[in-house]
Structures are given as structure tokens and as C-alpha cells.
């Protein structure tokens, strides 16, 4: 539908009317520009949060306090978590949604382009506020990214106000992003693009967007209550004033558990796009994939208290949350089985996106297994708040969510730039990441089972050997990401071989119908989907 002539016309159109330089990026309402902004922002935040992880791993390299004091260590674990969740993973997925959702459903742009601009441009301010709080007297937030009261209220320092404000801005940004995705998908699908024809990435993002709208206000409520408890004398979480500190955890995890799925459902979508392409075979069980995603999303609202088994809940509640949590493994298992069935009797090739996707399937599933183990309440009493939990959520978030984002970048980057990236560098990036990430996170299972608690700056001697290896893995994984940075800079300079519109032999979907690089405006005339 978009001929070369049209493309030239669009580019001219753009050159004549759009501002250039920094103003192009500040004022842009184009979904592709905003997608690029989100992705670069997420990558910068990924490196920033990663640098904090390096501080953590350097301190934990051997027993004793060497590099940082415990209070600063706690700030590092807190801000590392906040940045990786709200600054790296979520904006990266929003960036991918901005780029790909309109192109996948045959829409010319996002439905609400000006709000799109705003939802991105408030994000850098949120993180500037958060990061600048680290430089205040007394330092930034030091109560863990879960900011349990009363550690975050009565016992926190004054920078808590900045933390609350920045979380509010992040939440507003996420909600606007989510509204945009829903409105776009509901209203701007090309003729013939029925719901059950939508690519899985679009489906998973649609469901994710509903989760975001449901729970980000809950987070906003939680931080507001923390703010008023700390500064305005309320007692939501203070037993002395009739409140309950455990209620904070109920509210936080009512947000926090769906949040976990917010960070993994789009990843499922990405893998469901990539595996069929390189298996040259349609996705197995498309409908069951959609239903599984929806059931995971629904179940995610009734499992929150599995994060709180040790808080002293009634037996009935412990049973309920154990069983509900175990149930989630059923639809999640269906997804993994479907990916394997998609590969079965396909015609497989192993390009870089597929390498990341395969690593995702194996390593995410390992994270799923430890998740199932954590669901068993009596055993969770032993696992809870140890490195076993740290291993678990880093398997699902790093080798899960982040590997899927990298797979997505390697999958769609040629479509964005029109050039094939440096495949040798990409393979180096993959293998270095794969080996180091397992050296980093796998031994954490063992130190956790052996009894090492989370969030401690110093540990007893029995854990020394493993922590050394974990730190070495951490440094190697951090350095491996610089290969990715080099690759991205080369790609943005438009170096490399030009690619065809389809890019990958087995690629199916509307995004592969437009030329590479994708013109500034696509699908001004909607395509017709058969």
C-alpha cells in the first residue's frame, strides 16, 4: 500500500512542516518518534539502574563493609528496583507498543497523539526527581522499592516526599499510555482486523493496558497515604492511631501483583510474534493464547497476598492465596506448551531475535518453576525474603521481560532503521548476556536456600564463595550491555545492509507490509485485512 513515491511525499511533508532538532523530539506527536523516545529513555534508565546494581554487587563481593555504608546500600537496592520496574521495563514496553501497535493493526498513529507526547515527556522529570533525592542530606528512599510502612513513614527521611511525587508522575504517565493503547486498539483497527485476528503482541498489550488502568491508581493511593501518614499526621498504617501496617502491604500488593503481569504479558506477546516467524509455522493455539493471557490477568487480582504469607494471615487466607497462586501456573504453562508446539515440526532458523526468544522460554520457565515453589505456603515461610526470591524475580524480569525486550529490539530494529544491524555484535551480546546472567542469578537460588536474607549489605562467611561468583556474573552482565549500546549507536547511524520490507523470511503481519525503514506516516489509507 505504501509505494516508494508515497514515502518520498511523506518525508517531504514532514520536512516542510515539522520542527527539526530538539524541537522535533519535544513537540512530536508521531507514534514512531515517541516510541523511539520511550525506548532510548528505557535503555538509559536500564544502564542507570544497572550501575546501581553494580554498586550492590561490588559491596557484596566479599563479607564485611568495604565500599558503601548500609544506609547508602539500602538506597541503592531501593532505587535500583524503582528504576528497573518503572524506568526500564515499563517504558520499554510502552515504547514497543507505540512503535508497533499502530503498524500491526493498520492504524496511522496512536489515537491520542498529544497525550502520547505528554505521557512520555513527564517521565524524565519523574526520574530526575527520584535520582536527585539521592543527593539530598540524608539521601533518597532507603526502604526498599516496596516501601513498607512504617519504615517509609515514621522512620523515613524527608526525601520521601520526592519519592511519592515521582511515583505519582510515573503512574500518571503509565495510565495515559494505557488509555492511549486501549483507545487505539478499540477504534483504529483496519477494516477486517477483528479482535481474534489481532497479533498476539496487540492482544497482550490490550490486556496489560487494562491492568495498568486498574492498579496504577491503587499505587497512587498507597503513596498518598504514605505521604499523609508521614507529613500530615494521619494514621492509615500506624497502629497507635488505629491503623494497620499490614494494610499497607495489602494495598501495595494489590497493585504489585498485577504489576508483575504488566511486566510480563507484553513479553508473552513478543515471544508469540517471534517464535512463529522463525519456525515458519503459524502460532499454535492462537485462541487459547488469548484466553490464557486473559485468565492470567484476571487471576492476578486474587493472588496478591502470596507476597505476605509471613505477615500472620488467617489460615483460610493462606490456603486461598496458595491455591489461587498455584492456579496461575496452569495458563502460564499453556503458553509455554504452545510455543514449543509452534516450534514442533516447523522449519527452524536461529537468527538473533529467535536466540533471545528461546533463551526467554527456557529461563522464564525456570523463573516460573521457582514461582510455583514459592506459592506453596509452608515452604514459602523458608523461602520468603531470601535470595531464593531474588533469584526468582530476576529470572522472570531479566531473562524474562528484559530478554523479550531485547528479542523485540533485534526483531523490529531493521524495520525501524531500514538496515540490518551488526549481527556479529548482536551474537556477542547474546552469548555474553546469556552466560553472565546465569552466573549472576542461578547461584542466588543456592544462597537463598542456604539462608541468606535479601537486602543485607553484609553476610556471614558461609555465603562468601557464591557471592563472589554472583558479583563476577553481575559485572559481566553489566558490561555485556555496552555491546548492545554500541550496536544501537551503529544502527541509529544507519550503518549496515539495507533490508527488504519483510526483513525475515517467515515474518507475517501488517508491519512487514510497509517498506523498511517504516515511513514517518504509515497506513494513512487503512489496509484491508482479509
Amino acid at each position: 500500500m505504501s509505494s516508494a513515491a508515497e514515502q518520498v511525499h511523506h518525508d517531504e511533508h514532514h520536512d516542510h512542516h515539522a520542527p527539526s532538532g530538539i524541537k522535533r523530539w519535544l513537540y512530536t506527536t508521531n507514534h514512531k518518534d515517541i516510541g523511539t523516545l520511550y525506548l532510548w529513555f528505557a535503555f538509559i534508565m536500564f544502564l542507570t539502574g544497572g550501575a546501581m546494581a553494580m554498586v550492590i554487587r561490588a559491596e557484596l563481593f566479599e563479607p564485611g563493609l568495604q565500599i558503601v555504608e548500609p544506609n547508602f546500600f539500602n538506597q541503592m537496592t531501593t532505587v535500583h528496583g524503582l528504576i528497573m520496574v518503572f524506568g526500564a521495563v515499563m517504558p520499554a514496553f510502552t515504547g514497543l507498543a507505540n512503535w508497533m501497535v499502530p503498524m500491526m493493526i493498520g492504524a496511522p498513529d496512536m489515537a491520542l497523539p498529544r497525550m502520547n507526547n505528554w505521557s512520555f515527556w513527564i517521565l524524565p522529570f519523574a526520574f530526575l526527581i527520584l535520582l536527585s533525592s539521592l543527593f539530598l542530606e540524608g539521601g533518597g528512599p532507603n526502604f526498599g522499592w516496596t516501601f513498607y510502612a512504617p519504615l517509609s513513614t515514621t522512620y523515613s527521611n524527608d526525601s520521601t516526599a520526592l519519592f511519592v511525587f515521582s511515583v505519582h508522575i510515573m503512574g500518571a504517565s503509565s495510565i495515559m499510555g494505557a488509555i492511549n493503547v486501549i483507545v487505539t486498539i478499540f477504534n483504529m483497527r483496519a477494516p477486517g482486523m477483528t479482535f481474534m485476528k489481532m497479533p498476539l503482541f496487540v492482544w497482550t498489550w490490550l490486556i496489560t493496558a487494562f491492568l495498568l488502568i486498574a492498579v496504577m491508581p491503587v499505587l497512587a493511593g498507597a503513596v498518598t497515604m504514605v505521604l499523609t501518614d508521614k507529613f500530615f499526621g494521619t494514621s492509615f498504617f500506624n497502629a497507635a492511631g488505629g491503623g494497620d501496617p499490614v494494610m499497607f502491604q495489602h494495598i501495595f500488593w494489590f497493585f504489585g501483583h498485577p504489576e508483575v503481569y504488566i511486566m510480563i504479558l507484553p513479553a508473552f506477546g513478543i515471544i508469540s510474534q517471534i517464535v512463529p516467524t522463525f519456525a515458519r509455522k503459524p502460532l499454535f493455539g492462537y485462541a487459547s493464547m488469548v484466553y490464557a493471557t486473559a485468565s492470567i490477568a484476571l487471576l492476578s487480582f486474587i493472588v496478591w497476598a502470596h507476597h505476605m504469607f509471613t505477615t500472620g494471615m488467617p489460615l483460610f487466607a493462606e490456603m486461598f492465596f496458595m491455591i489461587a497462586t498455584m492456579l496461575i501456573s496452569v495458563p502460564t504453562g499453556v503458553k509455554v506448551f504452545n510455543w514449543v508446539a509452534t516450534m514442533w515440526r516447523g522449519s527452524l532458523t536461529f537468527e538473533v531475535p529467535m536466540m533471545f526468544a528461546l533463551a526467554f522460554i527456557v529461563l522464564f520457565t525456570i523463573g516460573g518453576f521457582s514461582g510455583l515453589m514459592l506459592a506453596i505456603t509452608p515452604v514459602d515461610f523458608q523461602y520468603h525474603d531470601t535470595y531464593f526470591v531474588v533469584a526468582h524475580f530476576h529470572y522472570v524480569l531479566v531473562t524474562g521481560a528484559i530478554f523479550s525486550i531485547m528479542a523485540a529490539a533485534y526483531y523490529w530494529l531493521p524495520k525501524w532503521t531500514g538496515k540490518m544491524y551488526d549481527v556479529t555484535l548482536a551474537k556477542w551480546h547474546f552469548w555474553c548476556s546469556l552466560i553472565s546472567v546465569n552466573l549472576l542469578f542461578f547461584p542466588m537460588h543456592f544462597v537463598g536456600l542456604a539462608g541468606m536474607p535479601r537486602r543485607i549489605p553484609d553476610y556471614s562467611l558461609q555465603f562468601a564463595d557464591f557471592n563472589k561468583w554472583i558479583s563476577i556474573g553481575g559485572f559481566a552482565f553489566g558490561l555485556s550491555q555496552l555491546i548492545f549500546l554500541a550496536l544501537l549507536i551503529k544502527a541509529c547511524k544507519k550503518q549496515g545492509e539495507p533490508v527488504s520490507a519483510r526483513v525475515w523470511e517467515g515474518a507475517e503481519g501488517l508491519e512487514w507490509e510497509v517498506p523498511s525503514p517504516a515511513p514517518y506516516h504509515t497506513f494513512e489509507t487503512p489496509p484491508v485485512v482479509k
Binding site: P282, T310, R345, G451
Partner: protein, 382 residues
């Protein structure tokens, strides 16, 4: 690619099975969950191994199918893609089978959970109170109570002395409980949330300020067991270990009677102290010790505090101003802040000496001494 992934998978499995086997090799390099020393902790261990093995088997099947497919169905081997993409039968099978497996795990898990959550009919009850960053134990059936704090020297933590065997896992006064009897723990907190965790008993329960949680154990073997606080509770969260000594019931009874006697005598001594005056040197010497063990974690050894978090005492209005106000702050704490009420934590002598020390150290030269009777007057509200 395929070889690499296969190798990794093998390595992963090898590590996993190593973790299962290495357990028997003793304490030094434990890689697996402890079996512990109670019937409950043994059940928990068995559940852990069951679910772990189920995961390994599922992993072998699923990853096995994936790797077989990656080997057999490669384009480079000339594989032609099939076109199937749906099978309701298969979908039902792999929904129902996991479901049945889950029911199989849930039943024994529920049984163990019900047993763990039944603290009724205890033989001994101990009130466990967490505070930043120490544990307090109070025997509800005897007049015995005390604080239990980290015993590792700061010099070991700051790498000036060599680290000893029980680095960070040693306390000045361990909790003592009898073997073979049902010991109930009532767990609460004075400030933020802590979590009392003893891996060998499979007991981990949060200490919530203003609420009391219950847990219980029945230890089969005498011994010394070590654990740690498991919930982030501020700066020194990593430095509040738990040590429990389990003694034969007769030994336990002797110990608890002895402690009750010691504590009764100490209270008598304290009353005598009210009539005496201690010298400045005595007060300063004892005060420095108490300050280092009790106050320095927040206000720092040099009295300068941590700006923005813990206030300085050096040149502070409290430590150089009205002495009654100073005593009041130390004895009753400051509500809404991390400043604890030390009136119930320290003896009159220690309170008097530490306040004297704070008023005369680091250039705070008030020259005043504070005596036990001055502190007692504030405590009694005079």
C-alpha cells in the same frame, strides 16, 4: 546455538541435582534448604524436595521437547514446516494434567500448613519483640526478660579484625528454649516491621508494630541454632541475628530459675544505687561502653549522627541543654521518630552513665553528672 543451549541446560540440571545431593555434606557449603530439627521443618523440607522434583521432571519434558524440535526441525536439516496450529484435544490435556499435579501438591501442603498454624496448648511461651536493631525476649511464665544484640565486633565488620566463624550470626544473649516441649512465640515489634526467622525450625513470622503474631516449635535435638531478621527494617537490618539454644528440659528449668534469680537481684541492686552517687570517671567510663553498644548505631561513635536521618548529639540542644529534658528523651524516646524509649531497655546505672557521657563527650562540656536517682525521678514522673 542448539549445542550451546543444550550444554547450558545440562549444566543447569547438573547444578540442580548437585544442590539436591550437596545437602548431606554438612554446614560449610550448604546449597539446599535445611531439614531442620523439628518435625515441621522436616515436612517442609520434604514438600520442598517434592515440588522441586516435579519442576525438574516438567522441565526435562518441556525443554526436552523443545531441544528435540530445535535439532530435528531445523531448516538447515531441510525441515519443511507443517501447517497445524490447533488441537483442542492437546490443549485440554495440557491444561488438565498440570491441574491434577497441582491438586497433588496442594493436599500435603495444606496438611503441613494446618499443623504449622496451630499454636494451641504450649508448654512455654516467649514474647519476642523486634526493635531497631535487636530482639527482646520475655518469658511469659517466669520473670525473665532481656535484649539480644549482635555480638560481632564492629572491627570485624569494617575489616580491621579477621572475621570469626559465626560472623554476623552471634549474639550476646541467645534465646534459650527446652527440647521436646511446645514453645509458643508471640511476635511483635516496637518500631518498624521485623521478621523473626529460624531456618532450623521452619519458623518465619513478621513482627508487626501494634499487633501480635503467633508461631510455635518443638525442637527435637539440643543445640545452637542461628537465624536472622528477614524483613528490611532500616540501616542495620543485616545486623540483627537470632540465636536459639535448645536445652534438655531439666537444663532449661535450671537456666530459667537461675536467670529469674539474677534478674531479681539486679533489681534490688538498682534500688540501693538510688542512694549512691557515682563519680564522673565511673560514669564516663561505663557511659562510653553503653553508648557504643546502644546509641552509636544511629548517633555514630563520634556523636555526629547521620545528617538528614539521625540527629547529631555533638553540640546538640538536647545534650547540652536542660538535663531533665535530656533524661526524658532518652527514657521515653521521641514519638514519631526512630528514637526509642530506653527507660525499659537499660538499667538506671547505664542510663545515668550514658546521659552523663553524652553531656560530656565530643566537646559537650556541660561538666554535669547524672545519677541513678535523677533518672529514676524522671521515670517516676517527678
Amino acid at each position: 546455538m542448539k549445542k550451546g543451549v543444550l550444554k547450558r541446560a545440562m549444566a543447569v540440571l547438573a547444578l540442580l541435582s548437585a544442590s539436591a545431593l550437596a545437602e548431606s555434606n554438612g554446614e560449610s557449603m550448604r546449597l539446599n534448604l535445611t531439614k531442620g530439627v523439628t518435625d515441621i521443618s522436616q515436612q517442609v523440607y520434604d514438600l520442598h524436595m517434592t515440588i522441586f522434583m516435579i519442576c525438574v521432571v516438567i522441565g526435562v519434558v518441556v525443554f526436552g521437547a523443545m531441544f528435540i524440535s530445535m535439532y530435528l526441525h531445523r531448516k538447515s536439516r531441510g525441515a519443511k514446516p507443517a501447517n497445524f496450529h490447533e488441537s483442542t484435544k492437546v490443549e485440554i490435556v495440557w491444561t488438565v494434567i498440570p491441574f491434577l499435579i497441582l491438586i497433588g501438591i496442594a493436599i500435603p501442603a495444606a496438611k503441613t500448613l494446618i499443623a504449622m498454624e496451630d499454636p494451641s496448648n504450649p508448654d512455654v511461651t516467649v514474647l519476642v519483640t523486634g526493635s531497631q536493631w535487636k530482639w527482646h525476649y520475655k518469658y511469659m511464665d517466669n520473670d525473665v526478660e532481656y535484649y539480644s544484640v549482635l555480638a560481632t565486633q564492629p572491627e570485624q565488620i569494617h575489616n580491621k579484625f579477621e572475621k570469626q566463624q559465626n560472623y554476623l550470626l552471634e549474639v550476646d544473649r541467645p534465646l534459650v528454649i527446652p527440647t521436646g516441649q511446645k514453645v509458643r512465640f508471640l511476635i511483635t515489634s516496637d518500631d518498624v516491621i521485623h521478621s523473626w526467622w529460624m531456618p532450623a525450625f521452619a519458623v518465619k513470622k513478621d513482627a508487626n508494630p501494634g499487633f501480635i503474631n503467633e508461631a510455635w516449635t518443638r525442637v527435637n535435638e539440643p543445640g545452637i541454632y542461628r537465624g536472622q531478621c528477614a524483613e528490611l527494617c532500616g540501616k542495620d537490618h543485616g545486623f540483627m541475628p537470632i540465636v536459639v539454644i535448645a536445652k534438655e528440659p531439666a537444663d532449661y528449668q535450671n537456666w530459667v530459675d537461675e536467670q529469674a534469680e539474677i534478674q531479681r537481684k539486679a533489681k534490688e541492686e538498682e534500688q540501693k544505687l538510688l542512694a549512691m552517687n557515682m563519680s564522673m570517671e565511673e560514669l564516663m567510663e561505663n557511659g562510653q561502653k553503653v553508648y557504643q553498644s546502644t546509641c552509636a548505631a544511629c548517633h555514630q561513635g563520634n556523636g555526629e549522627g547521620l545528617p538528614g536521618i539521625f540527629p547529631a548529639l555533638k553540640n546538640s540542644p538536647v545534650a547540652t541543654g536542660d538535663v531533665k529534658h535530656h533524661i526524658d528523651v532518652v527514657v521515653h524516646g521521641v514519638s514519631g521518630t526512630a528514637m526509642q524509649a530506653f527507660g525499659k531497655q537499660l538499667s538506671l546505672k547505664d542510663l545515668a552513665s550514658v546521659i552523663t557521657y553524652e553531656r560530656n563527650a565530643w566537646g559537650n562540656s556541660t561538666g554535669e553528672t547524672v545519677q541513678a536517682k535523677d533518672v529514676n525521678a524522671v521515670i517516676k514522673g517527678q
